[in-house]
């Protein structure tokens, strides 16, 4: 057992866990978050994605020991104060999810893009999101919502 300090959604946690524990199990079991979700444990689908110091990582394979001292942000924490992020507002307005299971990862992956590139083209959005699977096939509404969120965050709409 090791003691590891990480900051999750702005809150600092000191955790007694094995350093090889994938971050997902710490977030879901120890801290009790529901944004990052177990999909494959193989870094193939993106349901577990979180931002680690602003970069998207697959928490199902990322050892918590490697995240020591880092800032972790999950779907619950992409906007300050618990208010929805413009992206989340647009996803709800578009009624984008069906089962919604992949959206914990979709949300942080899209937020990562909008932070780095306020004016992504449609092709840039698709390329950025292509490592995330949605088995319900909600890609069209998801894509439209990301585009609208980008417009709003730029102040065009």
């Amino acid at each position: 057992m090791d003691t590891i300090a990480i900051t999750v959604n702005g809150e600092r946690h000191e955790l007694a866990v094995d350093a090889d524990t994938p971050l997902l199990y710490v977030l879901a079991d120890t801290i009790g978050l529901k944004g990052p979700r177990f999909g494959c444990g193989l870094a193939q689908c993106g349901a577990c994605s979180v931002l680690l110091n602003g970069q998207e990582v697959r928490s199902c394979v990322y050892p918590v020991g490697s995240a020591a001292g880092a800032e972790v942000v999950t779907a619950e924490g992409i906007s300050a104060g618990g208010a929805p992020h413009p992206l989340q507002e647009e996803l709800i307005a578009a009624q984008a999810p069906q089962c919604g299971y992949c959206y914990g990862g979709m949300v942080v992956k899209a937020a990562e893009l909008l932070e780095a590139n306020p004016s992504p083209s449609r092709d840039e959005i698709i390329a950025h999101m292509d490592g995330h699977i949605c088995r319900c096939g909600t890609y069209p509404r998801l894509l439209a919502a990301i585009e609208r969120a980008a417009e709003r965050m730029r102040g065009d709409a």
């Binding site: 866990v17 529901k34 009624q95 069906q98 949300v107 698709i126 390329a127 292509d130 088995r135 096939g137």
Partner: protein
């Protein structure tokens, strides 16, 4: 230190097999459960003829609707409250729902075959109409006027023309029971009066799902709970030839002090206090298995299917053939395909003191309760199943199997157990949509009128027994009887056309000889339409007619005509629009199809690169007539999902296996459609507000599959005789 528990359940296993008790352990799911329910009455649970089983009216003038259908991401927990609010004259924000649970919510049948709205709407309508009638009788007495003099708005009953003389539902009933048995006298509203049904209402579950607050069954935690993983060979062989566990060695788990091992028969699991320790234990434990070479290799699949027909049945034979000037025949094959749910299945069970409580994402919690009671040796009334949403499942995946495993473990350890499947468990042991071979022969007269239609299909039925029950209890493999969704489907195989003669035949294979089968969204319909509708296009070409015009000439009725016209109009249909540029060939195709009820039409635009063999669906238009679309926005979302999933199944999805088992075990070996594969999608709802609702979850996939195949032909002049359209197959067909 891990310790190998000895099998302790043999006595109950013997009991279960001892004749009379067997029915308790009989796994009843899906339509068969309905059949049994019709014969013996519904399973134990709330009385379906009492208003109180369906509707509670609260003092604050809101109502709670008890719904016996589950949320699968298809929006049932929004659409059914819409139906209730409509009949009760309440607003949507005055209507709540509760979690679906065997002892709390009324039995409405399992949530499959797009039944939640099709069957659920009339059930909820009936209950709400009776509740409204009972409320109006009480209001009339309270206000001292006749019922006919009353009007209702937002749950406030007032005397017509005297809005001051009023009483609310809450004041009339206020958290007390109705104590009214439905007499069938209350008549639901006329659709011309609708103000909520037929409107786009926002889904109630989406904000939590997007904000990361939603609790899926994968998040369920109980105090004192153990985390479990199962240990099996990597991929299943034949349903009737399960693997045998020769030995399991727990010694490698010595470094995981909280790890425990459980074995019952060939059911092997590891458990630990933390999930990560359970995962590590599953990786470390060493087990030896006898794995029979029970399957053909997947490359030899279709030959083996033809060789192993157990019986041949005529599904339908009717009419006399007309003049047959033009004839065509076509044979094609479709592989096993997986549910491949985003979330590997998971269940939490708490079995102690002779009672079981299970949280599971089953599409039929009543049937699961019966199965669990049998497996655990309990009465049904001592078992409770609470539906807890998992990810989308698109048919019968492993939600019941995982619940059986969790319950067995909890019973043995006397603690709550959460069993989470791995990606490999899910892909390797899924209940697949079965493989199919179809042969179609069709004829028409000189004018293009269809005169004869024959379709013969080779396929097997579904697995009736879950794997954990097989492994733990030695329960013998048993297939479902053939029936709708397993047999050649009269609705898809020619049902959209006026046919003087039609003959449909099943060549039935034994379910036990093949990978496990189950219903996969629009079961076999993609296969039927892929094969049948390509032959229809071929006849159209022989006659020299446009494929849409040929279908219009032969269409069976105005509902089919409606979706054909809607899809063609949305796409601006102007023939197959064959073109080529940059070395890519383009074309458009049309198709019709459905599942058991409903009407689907689709147009596809496809791009083929003959050099690389890649196929891209550029645009899909899908029109669905689902009768009254209670919530057109949800129906559009369902159409969209169906179209994208059809692209996935046509271009990518195929389960592979060796004689010893399935080898497509993750998202790399079993690829599905991603963002970059997603075409432009145009969903079209053909709204028929006066008609019964007929379901919207799976009725346009067959049409879309056919449209994609016909568009491929338009682009290339070649017919694909198998799916998925992989680069190797496309290059081979282009070279032929």
């Amino acid at each position: 230190m891990g310790e190998l528990s000895s099998p302790t359940e043999l006595s109950r296993r013997g009991l279960l097999k001892a004749g009379g008790v067997m029915l308790v352990g009989f796994s009843l799911a899906g339509p068969l459960a309905q059949k049994v329910a019709a014969q013996f009455g519904p399973p134990p649970g709330p009385d379906r003829d009492k208003i109180d089983s369906w509707i509670m009216v609260h003092a604050d003038n809101t109502a709670t609707i008890l719904i016996g259908f589950v949320e699968l991401g298809q929006g049932a927990t929004t659409s059914l409250p819409q139906v209730a609010a409509e009949e009760l004259d309440l607003d949507m924000d005055q209507v709540k729902t509760v979690a679906h649970e065997t002892e709390v919510t009324p039995f409405q049948g399992g949530t499959y075959s797009s039944s939640a709205i099709a069957n659920g709407r009339p059930q909820v309508q009936r209950a709400a109409a009776h509740a409204r009638a009972a409320l109006l009788r009480r209001a009339a007495a309270h206000l001292g006027v006749a019922v006919e003099a009353l009007v209702v708005e937002h749950g406030v009953v007032s005397v017509r023309g005297e809005p001051g003389r009023s009483v609310t539902y809450g004041e009339l009933v206020g958290d007390r029971p109705f104590e009214v048995t439905m007499d069938g006298e209350a008549i639901p509203k006329d659709p011309s009066q609708y103000r909520i049904v037929g409107q786009r209402k926002a889904r109630r579950d989406l904000a939590d799902k997007v904000m990361g607050r939603f609790e899926y069954v994968q998040h369920k935690r109980l105090p004192g709970m153990l985390h479990a993983r199962i240990i099996r060979p990597r991929g299943q062989g034949a349903f009737g030839a399960p693997p045998s566990l020769l030995s399991a060695d727990a010694a490698p788990l010595a470094d995981i002090p909280d790890a425990q091992v459980f074995r019952q028969g060939d059911f092997l699991a590891v458990l630990a206090e933390s999930e990560w320790h359970a995962v590590k234990a599953a990786r470390l434990i060493e087990s030896e298995w006898d794995i029979p070479a029970s399957l053909p290799a997947s490359r030899d699949l279709y030959g083996a299917m033809r060789d192993r027909v157990a019986s041949t049945n005529v599904v339908l034979e009717e009419g006399e053939a007309g003049e047959a000037l033009h004839r065509t025949s076509f044979t094609a094959e479709t592989p096993y395909q997986a549910h491949a749910t985003m979330a590997p299945n998971c269940a939490v069970a708490d079995v102690k003191d002779g009672k079981a409580r299970v949280w599971a994402s089953s599409q039929d919690i009543y049937a699961l309760r019966g199965t669990l009671a049998g497996v655990l040796g309990l009465e049904q009334t001592d078992a409770t199943v609470q539906f807890t949403e998992g990810s989308g499942t698109y048919g019968h995946s492993l939600y019941d199997d995982v619940a059986i495993g969790a319950a067995l473990l909890s019973q043995n350890f006397g603690r709550p157990v959460r069993l989470q499947y791995s990606r490999e468990n899910e892909h390797g042991w899924d209940t697949f949509g079965p493989a199919h071979i179809g042969e179609v022969a069709i004829a028409c007269d000189a004018a293009g009128k269809l005169s004869d239609y024959e379709y013969a299909g080779w396929q097997h039925s579904w697995a009736f027994v879950e794997t954990n029950d097989q492994l733990a209890n030695g329960t013998p493999a048993r297939g479902w009887p053939m029936g709708p969704s397993r047999s050649v489907n009269p609705a898809v195989c020619g049902g959209m056309y006026a046919l003087p003669r039609r003959k449909l035949v099943d060549h039935v294979l034994n379910a036990e000889d093949w990978p496990r089968g189950a219903w996969l969204r629009s079961p076999l319909d993609l296969s039927f339409a892929f094969i049948s509708e390509q032959a229809i296009d071929d006849l159209a070409a022989q006659v020299g007619m446009d494929p849409v015009a040929f279908r219009r000439l032969n269409i069976a009725d105005h509902r089919w005509q409606g979706v054909l016209d809607a899809a063609a109009e949305a796409a601006g249909w102007n023939g197959p629009q064959v073109s080529s540029s940059d070395g890519r060939l383009r074309g458009r195709g049309v198709g019709l199809g459905t599942h058991l009820r409903g009407w689907g039409g689709a147009v596809a635009e496809v791009e083929v690169d003959p050099e690389s063999g890649t196929v891209r669906v550029a645009h899909l238009w899908g029109a669905l007539d689902a009768g009254c679309a209670v919530n057109p926005d949800i129906v559009e979302a369902q159409i969209t999902g169906q179209l994208v999933q059809t692209v996935s199944r046509m271009i990518y999805e195929e389960v592979h296996f060796t004689p010893q088992g399935v080898t497509t075990l993750d998202w790399n070996s079993y690829p599905v459609a991603r963002f970059s594969d997603c075409p432009e999608i145009t969903p079209v709802v053909v709204q028929r507000i006066d008609e019964p609702s007929s379901g919207a979850g799976e009725e346009v996939m067959a049409a879309a599959a056919a449209a994609i195949a016909n568009a491929f032909h338009a682009a290339t002049g070649k017919r694909m005789a198998t799916i998925p359209f992989t680069p190797e197959r496309v290059k081979a067909v282009m070279a032929a």
